[in-house]
Amino acid sequence: MSTLFNARLSRRHFVQGLAGSALLGSATRGPAQNAAAPSVLIGPNFDLSIDTLPANFTGNARRATAVNGQVPAPLLRMRQGDTITVRVTNRLPRPTSIHWHGMIVPADMDGVPGISFPGIAPGSTFTYRFKANQYGTYWYHAHSRFQEQVGLYGPIVIERRGGERHASDREHVILLSDWTDLDPEHIYTTLKRQSDYYNFGKRTVGDFFADARRNGWRETIADRRMWGEMRMNPTDLLDVSGYAYTYLMNGVTPTGNWTATFNRGERVRLRIINGSSMSFFDVRIPGLKMTVVAADGQDVEPVTVDEFRIGAAEVYDVIVEPSDDRAYTIFAQAMDRSGYARGTLAPRAGMSAEVPAMDPRPLLAMSDMGMAHGQDMSSSDMSQMDHAAMGHTMPMPSSSGGALKHPATESSRNVDMQVAQATPRLNDAGVGLRDNGRRVLTYADLHTIGGPIDSREPGREIELHLTGHMQRFIWSFNGQKFSEAEPLRFMHGERLRVVLINDSMMNHPIHLHGMWSELEDESGAFLVRKHTVTVQPAQRVAYQVTADAMGRWAYHCHLLYHMEAGMFREVVVAHGEQSSEHHHS
């Protein structure tokens, strides 16, 4: 490729990437793996080597952080019940780590530097040892600074003892990610300097007049006035957009078109992992229904949908049954419609199907701000909302009714908004997916087979508000950044309820290490067991946790830059006086 051409790469080229798989590897290795056939390592013993590697996804030569010379890292296949050994050698000039996302492992094997262990020093080897007691689809990634963003992520499949519950004829792993040619440190600094830098979908003067024609002057002015009073932007959906990202499917750009094959009439299981740092994807396969059979590795009662939203770090297994001799596009558009990952499911390699146009860029709705639909948008209502929300110190009642109270720590310069009401809305598909004419998966559709891991009623409740300041790019729980908060303390053996109230206007995928988050419905009944729970703006989500994992654990928003900016807590599980006698068989 000539320098001239390089210099003239269009933005479209940047976003959609190069044809063919990414050019990975040094001259000695040759131009790398065909990412269409991701390498698979079979357990129980693994040797992983972490090193930087030349990478070229967009026409620009960059360096990625790779495992065994690959981005994404190789698929690790394990068998349920095996004792797993992973020797991880760090060939980077800086410390590294690997976290086994969704796997329940001892606290010192969980891979979070500063909490689980000291990290893996340059040139050294750390040996992880743990038992794979569970089965399902999981993934692994670095927990060191921005190494996850630059390529250190890979899938894990643990085969169920006795065979899969939901039979399939073949399976493919689909790992979605967000590659950037920029230095992640630069992205983080940029967000601190101008937090809306990557948002090229803001409302313009032209949109104002178009809205006025459509909705009338009065309503349009009231709308702009409301957002202006809040100093919020209804187009603030993702902090980092397709302007910086090229979205990848198994390490392949949209132009590269990662392709998986099937034979007509087969039941094909797709294990779909969102390994991105900052992106929510809306996934569909036009022409095919998807039957969701597992969420975050946990088998669920099958539910058939057209589309689902997958937050960073979430995992869904779906079964599709392509019956025609044709190609199908696997389409994963970013939530802000600034780009997409794309691949193809086809009877033979080399085929492709039409790539759908991206949906229109959505705007946040009233319900995303904790205001009822049809609520008057006048400024007096807004100021009421502000004042009603501030200065209260009483804990939130466990029921979802009643006026919402906020913790005192939230009356902070770190917090730019508080919702007047937060609702469970578990059947809300979320911004941009509501009433789109397709059957979209919601959390209310998910029912983990086998019930909760613990049938006891929770003995207590911990409420945490998801808070932030968009403009200053500060993120926190209860208005407190990680540096300002004490660890959360769980008593070993207790069953407790965690209530998350999203006081921000962004979706946050919240990940508790070491213990399951057992989501409950509005009446407190068990819905689904997850490792990462996405909380929508102005949503109230409750899940139960059994604190059966001794030690220190990480608890954080899985949007990488939110975590770095303070949306992180340590959870300590220790023996307490009220510790119950509960044991598992």
Binding site: Q134, D416, G451, R472, K481, F482, W516, R552, M563
Partner: protein
């Protein structure tokens, strides 16, 4: 169906309660958290870390009597989420000499949701006599996305001054941005050597249309209307200058 499946699963496989295996307790984990600094270093995650930004908001040529004038307005900050060192400078060069220059060095402290307290010193080095001031003000985002700076200044001999500046962006497209701007200066005492009279001294209204090929770099065209009031206007007129003028402006805006 929905109730049958878990029932079948229960009979065949047992419940999640039976299947779930808690992890073994850690054998090599410290019981207690380390001090934050040590932990942040090990985690490579520090929400107290410092950042910096240099904003050359206006590097501007103005059509003025007797050739063009150059005006600048820039600031720079360095610090964490709560406390920043903030440098501001603004001034004008005309006909080969610096007519006015204002430099402020401020401690910027995050006060509330939308407002920062700024306190520090200001140094004026105009063509007349230089002045030093103590500064105290607020900077923040007012309702309607209006960037506002409002600062009071005091100096020796009972001198006092006030300055208010406000601006707002209107997006014509994602990269073409119209920015109205207002700046107002007032003084408590006459300062004839610097052509300043007491009371409301001057008002400037600007309208700039900028194009951002990149967020960090923009070129712009615009109009500025300046009006001087009261004693300041008299002083200017007696020196042969207009107390009110329209100027076409063109400039660069960049930050890093």
């Amino acid at each position: 169906m929905s109730t049958l499946i878990p029932l079948i699963a229960l009979l065949a496989q047992g419940t999640s309660e039976q299947e779930h295996v808690p992890p073994d307790p850690p054998t090599a984990q410290d019981d207690h958290s380390m001090p934050y600094k040590e932990m942040a270093r090990m985690m490579e995650m520090d929400d107290r870390s410092t950042f910096g930004k240099v904003m050359l908001d206006r590097l501007e040529w103005r059509d003025a009597d007797g050739g063009s004038a150059f005006e600048w307005n820039a600031d720079a900050w360095y610090g964490n989420d709560y406390d920043k060192l903030w440098l501001k400078t603004e001034g004008k060069r005309h006909a080969g000499e610096t007519e006015s220059a204002r430099t402020e060095l401020l401690w910027n402290h995050t006060l509330t949701r939308w407002w920062n307290l700024q306190s520090g010193v200001r140094h004026d080095s105009p063509s007349g006599a230089s002045r030093n001031w103590a500064a105290l003000g607020v900077q923040g985002l007012a309702p309607g996305f209006i960037d506002v700076e409002a600062t009071m200044y005091v100096a020796d001999q009972g001198r006092a001054a006030a300055r208010i500046a406000a601006e707002r962006d209107f997006l014509l497209t994602q990269r073409l941005i119209l920015q109205p701007e207002l700046e107002l200066n007032a003084y408590a005492h006459d300062d004839p050597v610097n052509q300043i009279g007491s009371g409301l001294s001057d008002l400037e209204l600007g309208l700039r249309l900028r194009y951002e090929p990149r967020r960090e770099f923009a070129t712009y065209l615009g109009l500025a209307w300046t009006r001087h009031f009261g004693t300041t206007a008299s002083l200017l007129r007696s020196g042969g200058d207009d107390s009110q003028q329209w100027q076409a402006v063109a400039g660069l805006r960049m930050w890093f």
